[in-house]
């Protein structure tokens, strides 16, 4: 039986056709991947299925009956549940409280917590989720929180689950566990739509895959009859190289030296507990770790965005420990921030204005009080050209650009200042294969020019591919150094989870 069938779905937004006559058929009991680059139209299609958007044209059939889905509540009633990429959980509430939120079943006007807890425990056991219904959200891991999101949909009686890029926040081990859970769900008769741009996970978990490019369905294939290379080519529309071409590193003098660094996190708890790190000229050091182990605090401490409690940060033997952000920039640090919308860009500014975010006060961009916008525009034009930023012109608000092109703009800005140390935090998060290739090439280029690069990423693939040395961070300390040529993802995963290994790899 076809649980979900979408026929001829078209959705237009001003200036763009997000979905162009899309056909999608999902069979009962399968894991169906929806593969496509960012902006290909996957999310739009799923938002239509979940009732958040109305299609301009086309029909939807749920269990072979035509339906008009007017909103998420209606989608829930039809048995469709969505596990969002960004969790929608109330931190101080318990698992049970979060799950029943919005669907509180009461007895004589009182919420029946005991019954709900029992039901959730049953669901958790049945699908092997191992969630404790009485735990507080703030006290459980990210992987567990995701399972709470899954339970939420199950509690509401969903039999078709949409997973929106679920693996982005997980360790390799947690990803394996998630795939196991997905198999359990399917075994019990559920159907899963799995949105992703990670090919490996499709090969590992899915039965069929529908590839979407620029709002159109390219092809639906059986996973057993395809391979990563073919899928990548279908997704991007051309052949893609998976390896990064790079020569042996020729590391020189230390550029960044961090000694015994102690920094407080947002809640006043020490996020870095005596961290040591060294990055030398002409090498890429990858910082691997599960999200929330001090990566953000380390970057913020180096760049002057977070006060340092004790310890030292040196740039080329110069103490920059308590420097303000502008001083750090002027000392020769470039920073591609982990969240481009939060820190990296002023979205309402034009491309031009964003290109000089740190240098607007220097000549030639300003003279006296005034900013020389003619100079700024000329500079922006050059960067747009050199870094292939796809934009109508330099006066377009940067908000209007795709994520990949926004990121290229940031990279252009940071790389062009030619910093001695380039900190790249999640430089390819949410980007498509083509943009990732481009950015990786630029990072290696910086290294080959004799610059130091500190790469912080949650994508192990990226760390392994680019780094010359990998430092693993856990609980605010570096717990081990590994050689990416010799280590395995399993070993890295264990280190990231906090298991210390004895032998260290000397660079």
């Amino acid at each position: 039986m076809n649980v979900v069938e979408m026929r001829g779905i078209t959705k237009r937004f001003p200036g763009i056709v997000a979905n162009d006559n899309i056909h999608l058929t999902v069979k009962q009991g399968e894991i169906h991947a929806l593969l496509g680059e960012n902006g290909a139209g996957k999310s739009t299609l799923m938002n239509i299925l979940f009732g958040l958007y109305q299609p301009d044209e086309g029909e939807i059939f749920i269990k072979e009956k035509p339906v008009t889905i007017t909103g998420p509540t209606m989608a829930n009633k039809l048995g469709i549940g969505m596990v969002h990429q960004h969790f929608m959980l109330v931190q101080p509430f318990t698992v049970t409280e979060n799950i029943i939120l919005g669907d509180e079943r009461s007895k004589r006007g009182m919420i029946d917590y005991k019954k709900a807890e029992r039901q959730i425990q049953e669901l958790s056991d049945r699908y092997g989720l191992r969630v404790d219904p009485t735990a507080k959200i703030s006290e459980i891991s990210v992987g567990m929180q995701q399972r709470v999101e899954i339970l939420k949909t199950l509690y509401r009686g969903a039999d078709t689950l949409i997973f929106d890029e679920p693996t982005a926040v997980l360790t390799p081990q947690e990803i394996d566990e998630l795939i196991e859970i997905m198999r359990n769900l399917v075994k019990e008769g559920k159907t899963i739509i799995f949105i992703t741009h990670k090919l490996k996970e499709i090969m590992a978990a899915c039965d069929r895959v529908t590839v979407i490019r620029r709002g159109k369905v390219i092809q639906t294939l059986n996973v057993s009859e395809t391979n990563e290379k073919q899928l990548a080519a279908l997704m991007v529309g051309r052949e893609v190289s998976f390896t990064v071409n790079k020569k042996e590193a020729t590391p020189g003098e230390p550029v960044l030296t961090v000694k015994n660094l102690v920094v407080e996190g947002n809640r006043g708890i020490e996020a870095l507990k005596g961290l040591d790190l060294e990055v030398r000229a002409g090498e890429i050091v990858g910082l691997a770790g599960v999200d929330g182990n001090g990566q953000t605090e380390l970057i913020e401490a180096i760049t002057g965005l977070r006060p340092v409690k004790s310890g030292m940060i040196q740039l080329k033997n110069r103490d920059i420990t308590h420097f303000k952000p502008r001083k750090v920039t002027e000392a020769g640090v470039g920073h591609i921030p982990e969240d481009r919308h939060k820190r990296g860009l002023v979205l309402d500014f034009t491309v031009s204005e964003n290109m000089v975010l740190q240098s607007y006060y220097q000549p030639p961009f300003s003279k006296g009080w005034a900013i020389q916008f003619a100079e700024v525009d000329q500079y922006a034009k050059r960067l747009i050209e050199e870094f292939d930023v796809r934009t109508p012109d330099e006066h377009t608000p940067i908000r209007a650009l795709s994520g990949g092109n926004q990121q290229k703009a940031i990279i252009a800005r940071e790389v062009d200042r030619d910093p001695d140390l380039l900190i790249a935090a999640q430089p390819t998060r949410g980007l498509d294969v083509g943009a990732i290739e481009f950015i990786h090439r630029r990072l290696v280029e910086q290294r080959d020019k004799g610059k130091a690069v500190l790469l912080v990423s949650l994508e192990l693939d990226e760390i392994m591919k680019l780094s010359d040395r990998v430092a693993v961070i856990n609980g605010g300390r570096i717990v081990g150094w590994v050689d990416p040529q010799k280590t395995t993802e399993e070993e890295l995963g264990l280190l990231m989870a906090g298991r210390v290994i004895q032998e260290e790899v000397s660079g």
Binding site: R12, P14, G15, T303, L305, K324, P325, R326, K327, V328, T329, H335, P337, K342, R343, G344, L345, V346, L347, D348, F349, E353, L357, Q358, Y360, Y361, S366, W369, A370, I371, F373
Partner: protein
């Protein structure tokens, strides 16, 4: 079709304002009809009496002047992500400083007026610096502090008038001519109305705001902080410094408004039982003017004409002035609710529907 829509989106702030004005006046018209008045007659009387005679035109411009300045004050703060609801208080201290300089300093003409205007502006800037400082250093919301500062300003001004500037009287003496912004030439040009040089100050400040925000380093920083403080911090700007500066420049405009009203229109300061509301009108002006200098000028013209003409409408069409305040409120309501977006949508959808229907025929 898409081209039209995107063009509408681009001009939406202008369209929003225009549609809101029409709707607001319609609401006023409906109220008048319900109360048994003739709206056509009333509106005709309003605009004719505000614009046709030189005297009335001059008086309209006089009404417009403080609205431009307070509107700019609110708009500038908005641009930096701050809501300066304390324009009223900054306006009052501007008046107070101007009257003090006017009465207590003996200076030659022109210089006297210039010093008084500057004193008013600085007083406003300092008054606004307090909420700015507290916001930047202690994280206190500027709305709370600036509302409180309004009351302090109002009562401080009353005490000063009664205890220091006069001996227990309700209003100060008139300022000497040397400090006045009124010039005979201008008054005569407009039929002896109370128009004064403040209008040029207001227009100059609008120009200044445009230059500051879109041409200078400081303006670039102010806008960056307004749009995204985290990115500004990342870029090495001082968010705190910009918050304080933005409030001070905003307060400067408000203080100028107070000084120009005092030195140009009233000529003396008197005890007030309640706020005049010019500062609060600035919020409406800024909102309708989409926080741009030109927008602020245009919306000040509208509100000024409605206010002055509304007074005459009372006599000529017998419609009570309160109707005009309802029109104000309705306009702002429509702007704030962004009613034009759905309306434009509806219009185009309807048209597309009709278009389809025609094709089917």
């Amino acid at each position: 079709m898409q081209q039209i829509l995107s063009r509408v989106n681009k001009t939406s702030t202008f369209a929003t304002s225009l549609i809101s004005i029409v709707l607001g006046m319609l609401v006023g018209a409906i109220m008048m009809m319900a109360a048994g008045y003739d709206p056509v007659l009333a509106y005709r009387a309003l605009f004719a009496s505000a614009l046709l005679q030189p005297y009335d035109l001059g008086e309209s411009i006089r009404t417009i002047t403080p609205l431009i300045l307070t509107g700019l004050a609110v708009a500038l703060a908005f641009r930096t992500g701050l809501f300066n609801i304390g324009v009223e208080g900054q306006f009052i201290v501007g008046q107070l400083a101007a009257v003090i300089v006017g009465l207590k300093l003996g200076l030659p003409p022109v210089l006297h007026a210039v010093v008084a205007v500057i004193a008013g502006g600085l007083a406003g800037a300092l008054w606004a610096a307090v909420p700015g400082l507290l916001k930047a250093t202690r994280g206190v919301h500027e709305v709370i502090i600036s509302i409180m500062m309004n009351f302090i300003a109002l009562n401080l001004s009353n005490v000063m008038i009664r205890k220091w500037l006069t001996e227990g009287s309700d209003s100060t003496p008139k300022i000497p001519d040397s400090a006045s912004l009124r010039v005979d030439f201008l008054s005569q040009l407009f039929g002896g109305s109370r128009i004064h040089l403040g209008i040029f100050l207001a227009l100059a400040m609008a120009l200044f705001m445009f230059y500051l925000l879109w041409k200078t380093k400081l303006g670039y920083e102010l806008r960056a902080v307004g749009h995204n403080p985290l990115a500004s911090e990342y870029a090495g700007m001082s968010v705190k410094r910009n918050i304080i500066l933005s409030m001070m420049i905003s307060g400067l405009f408000a203080g100028f408004a107070g000084a120009s009203e005092l030195l140009g229109t009233a000529g003396y300061h008197s005890i007030q039982a309640a706020f005049t509301g010019v500062g609060f009108d600035g919020i409406a002006v800024a909102l309708l003017g989409a926080n741009t200098p030109l927008g602020v000028i245009l919306s000040s013209v509208l509100f000024g004409v409605l206010t002055y003409g509304g007074g005459n409408m009372q006599f000529e069409a017998g419609v009570p002035f309160e109707v005009i305040r309802v029109v104000f409120a309705a306009i702002i309501l429509f702007v704030a609710a962004n009613i034009s977006g759905p309306l434009v949508d509806l219009f185009f959808r309807r048209r597309r529907g009709r278009h389809l229907a025609r094709n089917l025929d």
